[in-house]
């Protein structure tokens, strides 16, 4: 099995080395694991650093934001016939040692999408109170729309199989894609499962969501969720902007 670990990076020079080493050291029998870094126009040394490790880097000429960067990785994975694509943040928040658990349900062909959730066993870094409030809001919004409870809609630690890969290459949100992608997966009848993971507090870099932007984030993502729901419901499955 070929597994791509997609790591979007924007000014992450402090932690890409750790992330690269951690992923390179993972050994799963009968599996080829390739870390794929996407350099989203970093202004620091991220690109040079990654090239010096001989890591696979997809270098974007224009800053696309997290969604566009991750989708580049998805397109790479689909192009090179990977069976599973894992999404992992470049800031070291996501525990790469739990990749084995993350892909297990896909390898057993139990589900198409696996989301690593902080809130099933409530261990590790739990985010701030305000963030958790937002995450709960998305939990109820998504539950209302697709009748499925996802405890951690904002988690970017995910694994998807080839079937889901085709959908995300066709359409993936640009900004703050995670909660919207859950709706996308559900309405395309992909099977989703959450597994408990323990996340760390970020080692370096900065969150893509600062406190000033949080209101914009909530409004934008809510609109995006409602519109993608309507678009998929009204137009059938195929969706391009």
């Amino acid at each position: 099995m070929k597994i791509a670990v997609i790591i979007p990076c924007y000014n992450e020079e402090e932690c890409v080395a750790d992330v690269f080493n951690e992923i390179s050291s993972i050994k799963i029998p009968n599996c080829y694991i390739e870390p794929v870094f996407i350099n989203d126009c970093s202004k620091d040394n991220t690109l040079a650093l990654l090239k010096s490790y001989n890591a696979k880097v997809l270098d974007l000429s224009v800053n696309l934001g997290i969604g566009g960067a991750v989708q580049t990785g998805f397109k790479y994975a689909l192009l090179h016939n990977f069976d599973i694509a894992i999404q992992l943040d470049g800031d070291g928040q996501h525990p790469s040692d739990q990749i084995v658990n993350l892909i297990a349900p896909i390898m057993d062909n139990e589900v198409d999408v696996v989301i690593g959730s902080r809130f099933i066993e409530k261990e590790g870094f739990q985010s701030s109170f305000a963030r958790r409030l937002g995450i709960n809001y998305f939990k109820f919004l998504n539950k209302f729309l697709v009748k499925k409870t996802i405890t951690d809609n904002t988690s970017g630690f995910r694994a998807i199989n080839n079937k889901a890969l085709k959908e995300v290459c066709n359409y993936y949100p640009d900004e703050y894609p995670e909660p919207e992608a859950v709706i996308l997966f559900s309405l395309n009848n992909l099977r989703i499962k959450e597994i408990p993971v323990v996340m760390r507090e970020r080692i370096g870099g900065q969150s893509s969501i600062s406190s000033f932007k949080s209101i914009y984030y909530m409004v934008k993502v809510s609109l995006a969720i409602i519109f993608i729901y309507l678009r998929l419901k009204l137009n059938g499955k195929r969706s391009t902007l």
Binding site: I38, K56, L58, L60, S61, V62, T72, Y76, L241
Partner: protein
Amino acid sequence: MENVVPYKIQIISILGALAFMFFIFRLITKGKLREEYAIVWIVCTLILIVFSVWRSGLDVIAKLLGVYYAPALVFLAAIFAIIIFLVHLSVVNSKQQRQIKDLTQDIALLKDKLDSKKND
């Protein structure tokens, strides 16, 4: 002398509309404006010219639509046209944003292909 003032404004508005049309044509011939966007502007200018020449036209149409104060119709029509055109520009903008994203992703994938060819 009574007719001097209305004629004055009529001549100014006709000249203004013609100058605007000339400006649009120059932008198109210089390749700075695509024809698809120019259509809207040419149609707007034609409407301006029609109403500059046909002075009582505004009153006739206002009466037809039951608008009591004719100049209000001008503002209504202008604001409506501007809003429609702004929405159109947002649509164009969204489309271009998607195209830029697709191009950027393709370039990144091609760069990677080129690199792996070099290393072979």
